[in-house]
């Protein structure tokens, strides 16, 4: 159990990434101080290490993460956890646009609100937002799950493929080909597990299930160019 600390004040983010990409030799936790909105903190991590970012992160924090558990004690800029493969990322504050963009696996938890296009192009990861999500969330989401404990903005789940969305609050509008479906027992069980993993207390029974109507799966459906 060994911890090290990197102070990013006045230093390039190369310092922390170089450290995280090199053999860790038994280090289990890396603390990052004074991130001050720097971009690309802890990107491309490929080890089961804990990374604690003490402050606000800029763009792509934890981008392309594998195996690491990253906590941001503050807010995160655009694309937090983008293309994550496994591991976990927790944002204590709010997340900006495109949170979890194209993420393939792992768990992204946002305790505050998430901006627009949360879970855009999602490819299998689980994203849980305790607050609200902005418009165009889950746009072209292909696989995985997005759980919204607050409200969702416009065009939720536009062009959805096989990802499934669970929303507790109000949905301003659904996107093309997204539809509300009844929750099944499997949904309730799965959602309960996911919320527990995310450390959030909400009753699965209060969520709606949104999934693809699959009517845009073949070009003939586009023939009338309705959208």
């Amino acid at each position: 159990m060994s911890e090290i600390t990197v102070d990013l004040a006045g230093k390039p983010v190369r310092e922390v990434n170089r450290l995280l990409h090199a053999p860790l030799n038994g280090v289990t936790t890396v603390n990052v101080l004074n991130p001050d909105g720097a971009h690309n903190i802890a990107v491309g991590v490929n080890e089961a290490v804990k990374v604690e970012i003490h402050g606000n992160a800029g763009y792509y924090a934890g981008g392309m993460n594998k195996f690491a558990d990253i906590v941001i004690h503050g807010s995160a800029g655009t694309g937090v956890g983008e293309n994550m493969m496994s591991g976990s990322i927790r944002v204590k504050g709010f997340a900006s646009n495109a949170a979890g963009a194209s993420a393939h696996g792992g768990l992204l938890v946002i305790e505050g609100d998430a901006g627009l296009r949360c879970a855009v192009s999602l490819k299998g990861a689980d994203i849980v937002v305790d607050g609200n999500v902005g418009s165009f969330s889950a746009f072209m989401a292909q696989a995985g799950r997005l759980v919204v404990c607050g409200d969702a903005g416009d065009a939720l789940g536009d062009s959805l493929y096989e990802a499934v969305l669970y929303v507790k609050g109000k949905i301003k509008s659904l996107g093309a080909d997204a539809q509300e479906e009844p929750m099944t027992e499997a949904d309730f069980t799965g959602l309960a597990e996911l919320l527990a993993k995310a450390g959030l207390k909400h009753d699965p029974k209060s969520f709606k299930r949104i999934a693809s109507a699959r009517s845009l799966y073949h070009w003939n459906a586009d023939a009338d160019q309705e959208y």
Binding site: G58, G77, F94, G115, F136
Partner: protein
């Protein structure tokens, strides 16, 4: 293609620090905008009958050696009015005691390469090519005082890197606009406005947005209504930050692809494209930090 910054101090004691608080914000946006930088600062208005005209001589042959005092002298002679000038290299603030329009016309005729940056009672405007650090040093931004300001760093997308295409753009008096994003129909807007007597200085897409708002305001719309019409007519991606004599206003297009972050405390409201630019501000750890929603108008008054 750009970084924007805005700062409004809520307490009069902070007005002398407006510039020094802002300079690190502007420099924080260097990567987003390495080509040119500019800002518009609002302070105590001059006398009702007076007007300030901000001028830039960087495109004249004399450049920073322009004969500013000669200019002030000629205007005094020509118009028989107060004409005081405060200079800083290729920038000058000319204060006149009569209607600005004929004076501006005269300047245009006699010094066609002298660029008129702004007109108003409360606003001064600076912009030039160079990195934000260079431009800040050139005009000593850190000593600026006032109630609020709007700043910008530019990475040119379509029109050239010349000083007149840097932001902020102005319209009428005491109004300015900075823009992060790219409009996709600026030429159609320009062609619609020119026959209505709106004059364009450049082919810059931001100027098209600014002139559109100038037109709507001229037609009697409130800023709110003008911006609402803007949503319908202007196409593309944009975050607009505007300054009037007593307000800062911010809007984002429906897709909100271009970033914007706001930090608010009891002492100030600060806006920037990235949080990085706000990180140094006093008491930022306790500030209310949020991202403005798309299509909503945010207005802060002094």
């Amino acid at each position: 293609m750009c970084g924007i910054v805005g700062l409004l101090v809520k307490k009069p004691e902070l007005r002398p620090q407006l510039g020094s608080l802002m300079v690190p914000m502007l420099i924080g946006m260097t990567e987003r905008g390495p080509d040119s930088a500019g800002l518009a600062v609002f302070g105590t208005p001059v006398h009702e009958a007076h007007r300030k005209i901000n001028l830039y001589s960087g495109m004249t042959e004399a450049g920073a050696d322009f004969n500013w005092h000669g200019l002030a002298h000629s205007i005094r002679d020509e118009f028989g009015t107060v004409a005081e000038i405060v200079t800083s290299g290729n920038h000058a603030i000319l204060t006149v005691g009569s209607a600005p329009a004929p004076i501006k016309h005269w300047i245009h005729e006699h010094h066609p390469k002298l660029h008129i940056l702004s007109t108003g009672r409360s606003m001064d405007l600076y912009k030039d090519i160079g990195t934000p650090t260079e431009v800040s040093d050139r005009y000593d931004f850190s000593h600026l005082q006032g109630t609020h300001l709007v700043g910008h760093t530019r990475m040119a997308t379509e029109s050239a890197v010349t000083p007149d295409r840097a932001h902020p753009f102005t319209a009428g008096e005491d109004f300015c606009l900075v823009h992060n994003g790219s409009l996709s129909n600026p030429n159609g807007i320009r062609r619609m406005l020119e026959p209505r007597g709106i004059h364009f200085d450049t082919d810059n897409d931001t100027e098209a947005a600014c002139r559109f708002l100038e037109w709507r305001l001229r037609e009697g719309d409130s800023l709110e209504n003008a911006l609402q019409k803007g949503f319908d007519e202007l196409d593309g991606f944009f975050t607009f930050l505007m300054g009037t004599k007593d307000e800062l206003a911010l809007i984002r297009d429906p897709f909100a692809c271009k970033p914007a972050v706001v930090a608010e405390t009891d002492d100030y409201v600060a806006i920037a494209s990235e949080f990085r630019s706000l990180a140094h501000l006093p008491d930022i750890k306790n500030a209310h930090v949020f991202e403005p929603a798309p299509e909503e108008m945010y207005v802060w008054r002094t």
